[in-house]
Symmetry: none
Subunit: 264 residues, 2 copies
DNA sequence: AAGGTGTAAT
DNA sequence: ATTACACCTT
């Protein structure tokens, strides 16, 4: 059987909030080392990768590797029934076709059991090569969210450029143009307000703002976000989940000059 | 060229919030003494007048008088991309057809440039005679906003009457009648809670609440609002902008007994 | 306190 | 269909 007990249940709630609009159905791959999830978004443009390591759970047990096929919209509905301070336990039998969510209120006065039907989903295990990126920027996640939202009100795509001075975001549309530059700054009071740039080579890539915007639904998971860029490679937008792992989003760059490129 | 740097950028954001629903396109008239704007609302019933004096800017330069034709909806969109604590700089070339908004975050780590296309707009320079009003009332802007909103839920027009005792607002509709009286009070702790009446002659005029309601979008600009009334003249609803000037709204009174008077 | 969402009105 | 208001959530 599989069982994972998560003291900070709100983490799981946030993860589902962050991905339920991007991916409809996917497998939660449970093994003795934790829970992993990889899925393309419904239009097959972006990729989501989640890791929740066993060590982040209060209690974790997984006798046999399981691929739990889950409709994220439905799972999210159920997790909405958990209080933000609730302890959440996930359970599944080895041969069962359901998953159980157990919610314990902080004072243990209320115990809820929610059972959800599992689905059979072909797992597409996508090998994501571990690349050395040309530029890695870590910045406050709220700032990234704000920038992406602001640019979305002006244009559809953004050019993200990194130099050793900092990171820039540009867009253009019918009403005008916008360019936002964030300088590297390591001299701030709080570590989470830092913007740091680790760079091997300057890089400049174009992305659809619509997807970047979706990714920022994960802002609540971490005060910082890490953007990794390399020429002609998908950007990686990573939110670290304290003690547990990460939630990563991958998005392929738009090919410049390619005016016949449109999302579905 | 024209360039104005405004340390308290939120002022400009608030000004646009206040007028963008009333006026669609208008000229910002820039001269060496500051920025002025005058425009009729789209249904040609109300008039907006804005003054931002050069002295209120951190830095102000205007080599040549410019009439910058601007779509307020678009400008507002761009200003929404400025943080509330950002420093905002406006720039325009003498012969250019764009205006640039530059936003500097408080710690200078984020610098944004937004460029917007200008439009050609016939400037309607409306001479507003400097009248001696029969009654001038200054009151808390939030209180005025609340009164106008409350009356709007009962009726379409309000009778505003001023005597030396105070100011009264009345309306009536299908569901009933309402009458709100605010007495002059100068004995309050905070100056901004005062209501003062300066009167030469009692006056009573009728106005469309819909427009008064629009005007109160400017409430955030000033803790106090000044209402100036004279028989058969438009009411002036003025919000002073600290160190910079004012935002004024003019609205002609409804002629009593004239039931064939309707806004477009 | 502010942003987002949902609803209601034009 | 669009826009403004209110409510609710973060």
């Amino acid at each position: 059987m599989f069982e994972g007990r998560l003291l900070q249940g709100s983490l799981l709630k946030k993860v589902l909030e962050a991905i339920k609009d991007l991916v409809t159905d996917t497998n939660f791959d449970c093994s003795e080392t934790g829970i992993a999830l990889q899925a393309m978004d419904s239009s097959h443009v972006a990729l989501v990768s989640l890791l929740l390591k066993d060590t982040g759970f209060d209690h974790f047990r997984c006798d046999r590797n399981l691929a739990l096929g889950i409709n994220l919209q439905n799972m999210s509905k159920m997790l909405k029934c958990a209080g933000n301070d609730d302890i959440i336990t996930l359970k599944a039998e080895d041969e069962g076709d359901t998953i159980t969510f157990m919610f314990e209120s902080p004072n243990q006065d209320k115990i809820s059991d929610f059972e959800m039907k599992l689905m059979d989903i072909d797992s597409e295990h996508l090998g994501i090569p571990d690349t050395d990126y040309q530029a890695i920027v870590t910045m406050p996640s709220a700032e990234f969210q704000r920038i992406v939202r602001d640019l979305s009100s002006i244009g559809d795509t953004a050019v993200i450029g990194v130099t050793k001075e900092g990171i820039s975001f540009s867009t253009g549309g019918d009403i005008g143009k916008a360019n936002i530059v964030c300088r590297q700054n390591t001299n701030v009071d709080k570590e989470e307000d830092q913007t740091t740039v680790e760079i091997h080579e300057p890089v400049s890539l174009t992305f659809a703002l619509r997807y970047l915007n979706s990714f920022t639904k994960a802002t609540a998971l971490s005060p910082q976000v890490t953007l990794s860029l390399s020429k002609e490679l998908p950007i990686v937008v990573e939110y670290k989940i304290e003690k547990m792992g990460f939630l990563r989003f991958y998005l392929a760059p738009k090919i410049e000059e390619g005016d016949d490129e449109e999302e579905a």
